[in-house]
Amino acid sequence: MDKTILTVENISKNFGGVAAIVRVSFELQEGELLGIIGPNGSGKTTLVNLLTGFVKPDSGTVIYQGRNITGKMPYKIAELGIARTFQMVKPFYQLSAFKNLIIPLYSSRVKKLRGGKYGDRDDVAIDLLEDVGFERDSFVPYKIASSLPHGYLKRLELARCLALRPDLLILDELFSGMSMSEVASTLPIIEKLNAEGLSIIMVEHRLKELFRIAHRVIALNFGAKIADGPPRTMMENEAVKAAYLGSEDED
């Protein structure tokens, strides 16, 4: 954990006068698992959108692996190895689960990584689904996405990212809407990915689970960074407490 993979410097974004992100800076080391927390509307998803190019920042820079990727197109950023999940899962509903993964597997990034033509995409897709907990020998991987339960869709979303063989994975509230057992079965998958050296940014509302696996946590409130440190310090942090519970002098 000595090499910086992502550097965010003073990034800001306004939506018509509403400051969604205010001069946020942080660094991510290679292989680090960084959590991002904050109350509703604190700008977590906007930050993810800024990092992945879906929203262009008003000011500030994002440096990834020594490259300035500020304001690049989303597909260019994904091609460089940043994969993201969406908070609102929107799979390709009319395709079966494994065919959902054919789409990222078709990208030039995957072709490049494998060297030349990518072999049998279907098999790779089924393998990926098995990695995120789809039962291989069942019908589940072959079911049409619109018929899958929400927990599976979330994990399908994760598999869609892993198909890119990313260097940095950004999970936008992966656990929201998952049942306790689904979370319990997904946590080890993320821990394993991280142990294999994948850098991960997790935006999460489920603090207990996040704090168990995160190396470091950043707290946002009203678009500004209010705390940065190891998870165990977060619960004692006055600013974080105030953001979640409301401070006394507020009213």
Partner: protein
């Protein structure tokens, strides 16, 4: 006593789903029948000139052309691009073909392929800046494109202006006139069906379902959309190119609203997203419209009435209905 309608798959459908389809001639013919029959009819129809008459042979040809435009519409719809302006493809293909023949005296064997490729390329370039639009916004732009081009030709008086270009080379003989459209239609129909089920086609379908997820899969959706528009443009521009030499004339009617509306209606009537549906739709619409000529001015009224009845009665589209009937049977079950 209450009854409920229940739909069940036919046993033979399950037996045909895998390699077991090859187990007996029954399964094989169950699979082949709906595919081979329409192809056979299409191939035989041009031979029956003595039976159905030359007039209806011409109707067959024009039907094939509208079916091509409908297929082109359906391919664009598969990428999530709803077009109201298939006349753009038809018109550009027609004008390029006509101009090459009119100005350089190139024979149809050269002008038609050149017009097809050129028309598709020109339309794609024209639509390139608006590919980031979605839904109704894209539709409105495509609606205006043919109007824009025809007004441009009218006011600048280029390419023959309002007069158009006439006395173009005719097609060699009646067999070319009939079989080229039939083969073009079959190639497009089966080609597009194959294309959309390939990995490449899955990407296109993904763009329709959720373009943001495709983008975050490191895929440049605008490049793929442009490719899809070009492929769809090939089918549409070919229709224009071919009709130019059939009519031996190209003029502003090439951008007529008919070529935008008829393919769209055929696709909706037949069933969107299946390719076979829009083809069936065209083969219902065009002969229907021709046979109603006898009614005179009331033709449009009858035509519209039949259309409304079909669309309200079978909102899923005729093809989906037929496919369901072929694979499933219905029975009433007692639910107490």
């Amino acid at each position: 006593m209450k009854y409920r309608k229940e739909r069940l798959d036919r046993g033979i459908k399950a037996r045909c789903e895998d390699i077991f389809a090859l187990s007996s001639y029954k399964e094989i013919s169950y699979l082949l029948f709906p595919r081979v029959l329409p192809v056979a009819i299409l191939l035989i129809l041009p031979l029956l000139q003595g039976v159905i008459g030359l007039y209806w042979e011409k109707v067959l040809m024009i039907t094939c052309m509208i079916a091509l435009l409908a297929l082109s519409w359906d391919l664009m719809a598969s990428v999530g691009l709803i077009s109201l302006g298939q006349a753009l493809f038809f018109g550009t293909g027609a004008y390029i073909t006509g101009y090459l023949n009119f100005a350089f005296k190139l024979p149809p064997i050269l002008t038609i392929p050149l017009g097809t490729i050129g028309g598709a390329l020109f339309s794609t370039l024209l639509l390139l800046p608006v590919l980031r639009l979605r839904g109704v916004y894209f539709a409105i732009v495509t609606l205006t494109m043919p109007l824009l081009l025809s007004r441009f030709i009218e006011t600048t008086k280029i390419l023959g202006g309002t007069e158009g270009m006439s006395a173009l080379s005719p097609l060699p003989n009646i067999w070319v006139e009939l079989y080229v459209p039939v083969f073009a239609l079959l190639i497009c129909l089966f080609g597009f069906r194959r294309l959309i089920n390939e990995d490449y086609g899955l990407v296109l379908q993904g763009i329709r379902d959720n373009d943001r997820a495709v983008m975050s899969g490191a895929i440049n959706i605008y490049w793929f959309k442009a490719q899809a528009v070009f492929i769809a443009g090939i089918a549409g521009a070919f229709a224009g190119a071919f009709m130019t030499h059939y009519y031996r004339f190209v003029g502003m009617p090439a951008f007529a609203m008919d070529y935008s509306i008829l393919p769209l209606t055929a696709a909706v009537l037949g069933g969107v997203g299946t390719f076979a549906g829009p083809t069936i739709g065209a083969f219902i619409l065009m002969p229907l419209s021709e046979s109603l000529r006898a009614v005179g001015t009331l033709r449009v009224v009858f035509y519209s009435a039949i259309l409304i009845i079909c669309v309200v009665g079978l909102p899923e589209g005729i093809f989906h209905y037929l496919r369901r009937k072929y694979h499933q049977f219905e029975r009433m079950v007692d639910v107490g």
